[in-house]
């Protein structure tokens, strides 16, 4: 098969557009729409140790199923959390996209993310490799798994009361 089939080209562009939409929704605080971007059994994971792949058996910063993602949003919007009141302003950029695989149903996409946070007169930065597993559902895509590998994950972080 031709390595540059039109299907794959579309897949990369579709995937990029989709994860950019996810990023924009997080920065714009469109959390209900964000929660709708995931497949039913999807996981949002922020691991501690570099290189770990069996996330369930290791300690993570976040290991969220649908219930936990909804709780994370509720905590950000609930107004009770002193670290999320006010919520940090965030701006994130995704780039260096690479389509790792596409079997027609599932797309694996890797990219980098730089996120800048501003809160209480302090600016902070979080840089990560992000691994997306996207699935074609109906006419569009859903996130089946998102793994955010912070480059300093195994070092000391400050509080992150929002979604990376």
């Amino acid at each position: 098969m031709d390595m540059m089939t039109p299907v794959k080209d579309t897949a990369l562009l579709d995937a990029m557009a989709f994860v950019w939409l996810e990023a924009d929704r997080l920065d714009q605080r469109e959390f209900d729409d964000w929660l709708g971007m995931w497949s039913a059994d999807a996981k949002y994971i922020v691991p501690v140790e570099p290189g770990v792949t069996d996330f369930e058996a290791h300690l993570n910063y976040a290991y969220d199923d649908a219930v936990m993602r909804a709780k994370r949003v509720e905590r950000m919007m609930g107004g009770d959390s002193v670290s999320a009141s006010p919520l940090a302003r965030t701006v994130r950029a995704l780039s260096r996209f690479r389509l790792l695989s596409d079997d027609g149903v599932t797309i694996e996409l890797r990219c980098m993310q730089t996120l800048t946070e501003y809160r209480r007169e302090r600016m902070k930065s979080h840089v990560a490799d992000v691994e997306f597993t996207l699935v074609r559902e109906g006419a569009g895509l859903k996130i089946a798994r998102k793994v955010v590998r912070l480059i300093n994950a195994d070092h000391t972080l400050s509080g992150i009361s929002y979604i990376l």
Partner: protein, 419 residues
Amino acid sequence: MKDLDTPFAALVQDDKALTTLYTDPGLFEAEMDKIFTKTWVWVAHESEIATPGSYKRARVGLEPVIVTRDRKKNIHVLLNRCRHRAATVCEVSKGKTNSFVCPYHGWAYGLDGSLRGVPYEESYAGKLERGKLGLKALRTETYNGLVFATFNDEIEPLEDFLAGAKKWIDLFMKQGAGYPVKANGEHKFSFPGNWKIQLENTTDAYHFPLVHKPFLKLTDVETEEQFDIMNKGGWVEDLGNGHSVMIMMPELVDLEENLDAPIPDKFADLAQALRDEGHEEQQVRRIIRAVGGSGFNVNLFPNLGCSAAFFRVLQPVSVTETEVRHIALAMDGGPEIANRERLRIHEFFQGPMGFGSPDDAEVWDRVQQGAQGGKELWLLLNRSTETEEPTAEGTVKGDVSSEIGMRAAYRQWKKLMEA
């Protein structure tokens, strides 16, 4: 007041401390010298260096050390500083090795710190006293898996130092459910504030219903009820030498008592899975208890908390910056499904993205910010001073929201600073 005459009376009295304890850089330097290099400081759990050749880095105060296990299984705590020209000999957080080789000129040290190799040694013409040039070793003792070290050769034995806290350490380790307790990963986070703000917090029930309201709202109903700690008959006890314990859930002091109590609904599926794996009913109940952790926090002065279900390690960085580690615990060799449940519980509250820790870090940050003002004002530590009572074991306790734990810590702080 009886302590008005002492050198530090202007800073610490029985039931209050001056705001500058959080902000004075000179005091911070003095603390590193008079407290952290003079007392027992926790550096590791034995499981972190379980096998010969394993090591981890740590700090005693600001001084970098390596905790090692040698071939004879002895534990050493060694200053991470080449005896030649001071470079660190280890820059990896944890691992296994046969030796530590300085990257600057290649001096090589064994797991016990002894100097094993010096490149081009002939330049010393046989006069280099290798036997005196091992990595500086700290005095090291262990208690129930906890490894402590000190630069102070004159200090009392560790067990005497731990005093009344030993009983609570033993109770805490029951969350192994008969398996050895094992460190199982850690969250590290920092906050821009003084280390004593976090030290105080480990026996501060008073903040819980407010700061952790989001956690209480988002957790399950059973856990929310369990953490209604202001109304459950808990208490805080002064254990001597600056140590204290806060009992939040009196029914979870001894995890092996009252095993016939109903298994909480939140653990029903896990209990069934354990039965399906072939565990006897009593062992299922022990494991379920272990998964939930202990109902108390032991605060060991100056840097370790055995806190409900994890170790909390304090690392002062500067007068206005502190690193905190929350080390998750597991049953070593225990059922994997139960250890995974423990990880998920840890992730829920702890760490920089947990539903509890960031709110703690935020209020500690606010304390440090607020303490930039009113340096003549006192921090009030007098909750329950009027209602303290002696225990049968000769200690003193106050109600669950008492500040007796902080008073105990500051009394020890003052004793060491004045020594």
